[in-house]
Symmetry: C2
Subunit: 357 residues, 2 copies
């Protein structure tokens, strides 16, 4: 079978070695004679996987002992309510930056629990840029950002310096570049883009920030529950966490976030260059805020959309259709996507341009 | 390698065909040329898996159109708070039966949200029986039971007829016997015993019961969120749900719950007979409440415990140690465990008895 170029926005391409090792573990996990998905999560062999996943998560970002790392369930959508449950005091205020659909959902959940101030929003321009000049109230319990906006193709390219504790949804760009974690109180990410399959969510929590809201938090929504039990309060999602750890091992093996950042920038530059130079296409995000993870673009003549999708399909390019809420095209260039796949897409865009240009 | 007899309490043994088919799907999912864990959850091939899982869940239990079936995340522990969030009105009252550790946890979560009446408890006798004579207040919004108590080896053997809506945690015995779902308003089960790997939770919800509590429910804790979006409000745990569907297909192929119930009873009878007839052992649960899923027993002389575990290990018997909170031994006989494994355990008990009796 021909190789597929997988540009899916998530669940998304993963390193082949992570998939291969997961298959081996389904056959015989750590020489237990049992499949990975039929052993107790309290077996020492799986506890070792969990411990390794946490250690690798910390090592890849240079996270010290002043942070806890947990792997839980529920996706970033559950984090949208866990953050205010754990960090927004009753009668307190939280500040949010609205940069897209997921940020909007995070805001809605926080509003269910308290006073929310949206300090800036790019909604009126269909979220095609990241707002820059805004002030955050000093009495905000925290400031919540979405570092990469999967649907709109915009990204915050550096760690912000702000006047209140910073919380980040990094679901779609975590481990794509070096991050100074010390600037954040809390970072969360659904696994299914850069770090693994769907089914687990990683949370990095600064020590000492919990237990101060005065809220009666449901046990499973309380970060302290999972921190105290090292992500084993209840049965963890064994298989997704195994694959996350294999993905971390792969990332370490190729040089970690410094190296992948170079590769990610090269991949994004290759594609944005083509978008900017090809007369048929144009990008949709403000140039300075363009994401290196999700490249959004359109055909200037959208009556050619179906033809372009056919060209892509014939070249084994998959997952290129834009999100149903915005249309056009989106190429997701997550860590595991090789630059050869980006070149294949560029080749198709050039061939398409020769035919229809 | 020798075959391991997997008596693990959960995550637990699964049908080999489900594991084999999962491995094939990790290599190439539904002829997409992509791995199961790298395709979009909105790809038609995965939507078909989700639809099949729901259809099979309904077919196996004879569930009609008056119920919805969803697959979500968070385990039964998250259900402990979702049930009262969705079904316990503000200022209302809920009734609970306390039959073990998980029932106790469910009660604690409900108490965070409202008025809870524990109508009966077997806690004083270390949960070794299921209370029978109790009355449920007519004004209770619902009555919550745990049909099988994994740690203590007790089980409710029939569907109760009660005077208020019935809610059941069936995490450890769902699909082990025919159930008259029409007697329940809501049934939930973590997957990692009878229906799949860890990482998804199935919920069966009677139509028309939601939206009546007056509560401001976090979006992800609201059953309506997941029902409306057919378990695709956010990215579902793709791999666990795939394996659940493969497990359902296997159960259908061997004759469904009627057939597995016969086999489960035969397996349990074989082991309980040995426990009752072997002079070294005794069961811990009241005879009439003995679980057919989790058989708990002890050595009358517990100084032999380590020797017995050695015997088991030498016979490739795995996962037989009792839960750390009760000690002794526990043999979990979930659907996928073949009767040959039970016979292997019985053989070991007999050999042990000849040596140490």
């Amino acid at each position: 079978m021909s190789k597929i170029h997988n540009f899916s926005a998530g669940p998304a391409i993963l390193p082949q070695v992570a998939i291969d090792n997961s298959i081996e573990a389904l056959k015989d996990f750590a020489e237990t004679g049992l499949s990975l998905i039929t052993v107790s999560h309290r077996a020492k062999e799986f506890v070792a996987v969990m411990d390794q996943a946490v250690a690798n998560a910390k090592e890849l970002f240079g996270i010290g002992d002043d942070y806890d790392v947990i792997f839980i369930q529920g996706g970033a959508s559950t984090q949208f309510c866990m953050v205010p449950f754990n960090l927004l005091p009753i009668n307190g205020k939280a500040a949010y930056l609205n940069t897209g659909t997921w940020a909007t959902n995070a805001i809605k959940e926080a509003e269910k629990l308290g006073n929310v101030e949206v300090v800036a929003s790019s909604e009126e321009s269909n979220f095609n840029f990241i707002p820059k000049n805004y002030s955050i109230p000093n009495d905000a319990a925290y400031f919540h950002i979405t570092t990469n906006n999967t649907i709109y193709g915009t990204e915050l390219h550096e760690d912000l310096d702000v006047n209140v504790p910073l919380i980040a949804d990094m679901s779609s760009d975590i481990y794509s570049r070096p991050v100074d974690v010390s600037k954040y109180d809390l970072i969360y990410a659904g696994a299914q883009k850069n770090i693994g399959p769907a089914g687990t969510t990683m949370v990095i929590v600064k020590k000492g920030i919990l237990g101060k809201t005065g809220r009666n938090i449901p046990t499973m929504l309380n970060y302290e529950t999972h921190i105290k039990k090292e992500s084993m309060f209840n049965t963890p999602p064994v298989f997704p966490i195994f694959v996350v750890n294999e993905t971390f091992k792969w990332l370490k093996s190729i040089g970690g976030v410094e190296e992948i950042y170079k590769l990610n920038k090269a991949k994004a530059q290759l594609l944005y260059n083509e978008i900017d130079n090809n007369p048929l296409f144009k990008g949709t995000a403000a140039v300075e805020d363009r994401s290196i993870m999700n490249v959004t673009f359109v055909l200037k003549n959208d009556s050619l959309d179906a033809d372009f999708l056919d060209y892509c399909k014939n070249a084994n390019i998959s997952g290129i259709k834009g999100h149903r809420s915005v249309g056009g095209f989106r190429a997701s260039l997550y860590n595991a996507l090789p630059i050869e796949s980006v070149q294949a897409l560029v080749d198709v865009m050039q061939a398409f341009s020769q035919k229809f240009g």
